[in-house]
């Protein structure tokens, strides 16, 4: 099964090849791959720029206007900033101002975070010098050292660990702080691969379940039409999807607005009345978290019993719908219809049944089932929050199946559901900076890195290890670049902190960041990095996009900061790998290389770097007038264009899943499975509230936390319903304690009707700030989250937790 791992490219191939991800291999084939290798030598860099060249005109007051990509954090969008630069300082930030803003080629308008970037760029707390730890790990005591000392220390630790344990004891962890090519973890990954490799990982914290599960149904993750097609839809279900806040590709919210203007009815299914529910939906349907598959099943019950399913399409293009089309040899197994009508388990998945589970009135279930079953074409779009949960694979599969049985696959205005990478080529590349092949073959699910610290040598396939029978090491050295995963973003913060504190486990930790993050506090060595506006880079879309966005250096790096690439290159020098690592290129040369890469792949007409820079538009785009429709060939002729599934058809029943032999947790048809922490379990006696932690407007995860303009607009707090608040004597604005057995946080609350009773929300990403009793004072939801992973994808189930909330006086 192919992995669709958008947040991380898979290391593999040689330097100039493996920058390309799945699509380039598919599309351009061997010829191109060969050509790319040649670039390396051709381009070898004769750049003798002095200072920073800015493309814009000098205004009377000395201001130069430069258009550049907004720093490519993992923010859900990719936008153009118009930077007003005066005396080497950014004095104002506006956004894309290209004329003719229409949906074929809309402006890439920045969000609040991009517009407030000055406050991050010029924040007094930015790291300025390398530092080494002086106190105990995690205590936060550091002293300033020179770059020489820092790099020597780093090089000798790497050599030592390699010698003592071998390369598989090294981890360059997940880190999504930068996708601008020359900043970010990929720069470190490239060096480690040249150095003999490091422990590999697959999956992401974002999409573990959805990227893993979708292909079981469709054989691919490219299940999404181009967004310009959305105006053709008549009915859109935003299922746990909040694009007005998480963007999901710049302009997604705008395309939805256009679809609605064009007559689509939009409903939003979410425990919270999200920004998207307010701004984009005609109706909001609150659902008890973790019960989506129950609702999906009940909708199927209504659709099938009322004959609203697309019988012809199911007949021609699907397998496993009912007994008549079960895979060979499995005719007697439970089909989808069997499950829905309870022929085996005795429980028909009726609206009444689902009402008790989801909290949604049965009439509402019947109504939206009828709407989705009869209004054509219709989109069921899934967000990712509901798959970052206990059995996160199930709603993904359930959504795909609903789309299939209503015949919404492969048609304009329809939507196949699932991860929905953009047709026809999967959309943007994210990272093309070539990291090289990882000589360490062993690869773990990304979420299990703390397991690999504690018991790496015991981990095998049952823990999702691939590429090796067993790991041959526990993790001993962590080089953490552009990431706050060590402490803040991983589940169960107190547990992570305890593991990292123990110097006998991980022996050396280096963190490369712009701020002293909670993860950086747990480092032995902290290296200061410039921002992405202080060096050359390039980015493309986030999930969707038909553009390349240039990120020229606009101001100097402050103090002793360096780019991630420079740090890796300097380290490469100490490891005797300078030439191989840099190929003689500086950051700008790599961007020149990258532009050529795009010319050879998605954008044949893109001008060269010099020209792009001079044009000063920030972005090169390819307007879309005829949006591509995923599976349109398959739809027209399923025999001639079979899917990449075992049956060549849409697998409502998956033989592959069946073969795993774990029907209770990995059923062959999508099923509702009660979560391991749930309001229906015994744990709810002690911890009666479900807590979710949505992706919040003012932050990119933990990036931007503590930026004043953003905090002013969206303060960190707990959202709680008046009914739950009232029962606890909590008033709006009160400080509350939220806790379960994993930890405690103290946070002010907002009492609001816009969240379902029984559910609280603590926006994820706030910086962990424990007091001396270990009570987090800032509101990092991961203090409460669980480290348990999902059964199929080994994915993070961080949103599945129960808590109690108490007023503090």
């Amino acid at each position: 099964m192919k992995e669709f791992d958008l947040n991380h490219q898979q290391p593999g191939g040689d330097p100039d090849k493996q920058g390309m991800n799945r699509r380039c291999f598919l599309k351009t084939g061997a010829l191109f791959a060969g050509g790319m290798a040649a670039f390396g030598s051709l381009l070898g860099c004769t750049d003798n720029r002095k200072g920073i060249r800015l493309p814009g005109r000098l205004e009377a007051d000395g201001t130069v206007i430069v258009r550049a990509g907004c720093p490519a954090h993992n923010c859900g969008g990719r936008c153009v900033l118009k930077l007003f630069v005066r005396d080497n300082e950014i004095v104002r930030i506006e956004t894309d101002d290209r004329p003719g803003d229409d949906i074929s080629n809309p402006q890439l308008r920045a969000c609040i975070r991009g517009r407030a970037y000055r406050r991050r760029q010029y924040h007094p707390d930015r790291l300025k010098h390398p530092m080494k730890r002086t106190g105990k790990r995690g205590e936060g005591k550091f002293e300033r050292i020179s770059w020489d000392e820092a790099l020597d220390m780093m090089a000798s630790e790497l050599k030592r660990v390699k010698k003592d344990y071998g390369n598989s004891a090294i981890l360059v962890p997940y880190g999504t702080g930068s996708y601008n090519q020359t900043n970010g973890r990929q720069t470190a990954a490239r060096l480690m691969n040249l150095f003999g490799g490091s422990l590999g990982f697959y999956n992401s914290y974002s999409w573990a379940c959805i990227s893993r599960a979708t292909p079981y149904v469709y054989g691919t993750g490219v299940t999404g039409n181009q967004r310009q097609d959305w105006v053709n839809s008549r009915y859109i279900i935003m299922w746990g999807w909040n694009p007005a806040e998480m963007r999901d590709g710049t302009n997604t919210e705008y395309f939805l607005k256009k679809a609605r203007e064009n007559g689509a009815r939009i409903v939003c299914i979410d425990p919270r009345m999200s920004m998207s529910a307010t701004a984009l939906a005609d109706e909001w349907i609150p659902i008890r978290p973790g019960t989506d598959t129950a609702l999906m099943s009940a909708m199927a019950h209504v659709i099938i019993s009322e004959g609203l399913h697309d019988k012809d399409f199911i007949h021609s293009s699907c397998v496993g719908f009912d007994r008549s089309q079960m895979p060979e040899g499995l005719e007697e197994e439970e089909s989808y219809s069997d499950y829905i009508f309870g022929t085996r388990d005795g429980q028909p998945k009726t609206p009444e049944w689902a009402e008790a589970i989801t909290g949604i009135p049965r009439d509402t279930i019947i109504r939206i089932a009828r709407e989705y079953g009869s209004i054509k074409p219709a989109m069921l779009y899934q967000g990712y929050g509901m798959q970052r949960r206990a059995y996160g694979e199930q709603p993904v599969l359930g959504g795909c199946v609903l789309a299939a049985i209503t015949g919404n696959v492969g048609i304009p205005g329809g939507w196949a559901s699932g991860i929905a990478l953009q047709a026809e080529d999967g959309g943007p590349f994210w990272n093309i900076f070539p990291t090289g092949r990882n000589p360490v073959g062993a690869t773990i699910p990304v979420f299990l890195w703390t397991e690999a610290i504690l018991r790496g040598k015991e981990m095998g396939p049952e823990d999702g290890v691939i590429g090796a029978e067993k790991l041959d090491n526990n993790i001993k050295l962590i080089w953490c670049v552009a990431s706050n995963i060590l402490i803040n973003q991983h589940a169960d913060t107190n547990r992570s902190a305890k593991i990292l504190q123990d110097e006998s486990l991980v022996e050396f930790i280096a963190v490369q960041d712009q701020f002293m993050t909670p993860s950086a506090r747990y480092a032995d060595l902290v290296l200061p990095v410039c921002t992405q506006l202080e060096m050359w880079g390039l980015e493309d879309g986030w999930k969707y996009g038909d553009e390349v966005i240039l990120m020229p250096q606009v101001v100097d790096k402050p103090a002793e900061t360096k780019s991630d690439y420079q740090i890796a290159a300097a380290l490469a020098g100490r490891l005797g790998l300078k030439e191989e690592y840099t190929l003689g290129r500086d950051e700008r040369d790599w961007i020149e290389w990258a532009v050529k890469f795009y010319r050879n792949t998605r954008f044949p007409d893109i001008p060269d770097l010099e020209k792009l820079h001079e044009m000063n538009r920030g972005v090169y785009t390819r307007p879309i007038h005829e949006p591509k429709i995923a599976f349109s060939d398959f739809r027209k002729d399923p025999e001639r264009h079979p899917l990449n599934t075992p049956s060549g058809k849409i697998e409502i029943f998956s033989r592959q899943l069946y073969d795993m032999g774990k029907p209770d947790t990995i059923p062959a048809v999508p099923k509702y499975i009660r979560e391991w922490e749930s309001p229906f379990g015994a744990e709810s006696k002690k911890y009666p509230l479900q807590a979710i932690g949505h992706h919040y407007m003012p932050r990119v995860h933990s990036t931007h936390d503590g930026i004043d303009w953003l905090e002013e607009a969206f303060p960190q707090r707990l959202f709680i319903n008046p009914i739950d608040a009232g029962a606890r004597n909590i008033r709006n604005g009160d400080s509350v304690m939220v806790y379960n057995e994993r930890g405690k946080i103290r946070i002010p609350c907002r009492v609001t009707n816009k969240i379902m009773p029984g559910v609280v929300n603590i926006p994820q990403g706030a910086w962990w700030k424990p007091d001396k009793h270990g009570v987090d004072q800032r509101g990092n939801v991961n203090v409460l989250t669980s480290h348990r992973w999902t059964p199929l994808a080994f994915g993070n189930a961080q949103h599945t937790i129960m808590v109690e909330v108490e007023k503090v006086s």
Partner: protein, 205 residues
């Protein structure tokens, strides 16, 4: 005399506050000064019916700057004649005359006036008059990712969208004659509703 005005489409405003920060950045406003701010409005109840929860909830956002009113109460109440209305209908504060008494702030029913603790004067939306002169749209208007803000001549906007604005949380027009046109959200109620409340007061004062 022309009268410039804002257009705001509440039906699709997400409350993302990009406009608020675009304005802050353009004018270097300190913390607490929000020439454009976003009111989060909500009301209604949850009704329990057996195991089901029926949401009888309304909510929407209102992004509001200064409405450059036709009869600006701020201007008539300022003792210093520090508030003036120019030939485009833009209401501006003359920092060289303001003594910071904050009286205007008491009177404006749109919360448009914000005292700047650094400059020590009352400040408010200038309609980005400098940008208008350069032929550019105001910073907030060109910032909006949902494209729900616009500006133009009041009469023309009213011709295009109708004369709508007496919506909660805005007051009746009679006090100041605000130059703004609003397209309501499906949950929008009239100004005299008792059903709704501003729920993010701490974010908009």
């Amino acid at each position: 005399m022309t009268q410039l005005a804002f257009y705001f489409d509440a039906s699709s405003c997400s409350g993302c506050k990009t406009c608020q920060v675009a304005c802050k950045d353009k004018h270097d406003s300190p913390m607490g000064v929000r020439w454009r701010r976003i009111y989060e409005v909500s009301g209604g109840d949850w009704i329990q019916n057996g195991p089901a929860w029926i949401p009888n909830i309304f909510a929407y956002h209102v992004s509001m700057a200064c409405n450059h009113c036709e009869e600006p109460i701020c201007m008539t109440s300022c003792p210093n004649k520090a508030i003036v209305k120019d030939e485009r209908g833009i209401v501006l504060i003359d920092y060289d005359r303001c003594m910071g008494c904050k009286y205007c702030e008491w009177t404006c029913p749109y919360g448009a006036l914000h005292f700047d603790p650094d400059k020590k004067v009352m400040t408010k939306c200038t309609f980005c008059a400098d940008y208008l002169e350069e032929g550019k749209a105001p910073s907030c208007v060109s910032a909006c990712p949902m494209r729900v803000l616009d500006y133009g001549d009041l009469e023309e906007l009213e011709k295009k969208y109708g004369r709508h604005r007496e919506y909660f949380p805005l007051p009746a027009d009679k006090y100041t004659g605000p130059a703004v046109v609003i397209k309501p959200h499906k949950d929008t109620r009239r100004y005299d509703t008792k059903e709704l409340q501003i729920i993010n007061k701490e974010e908009v004062i």
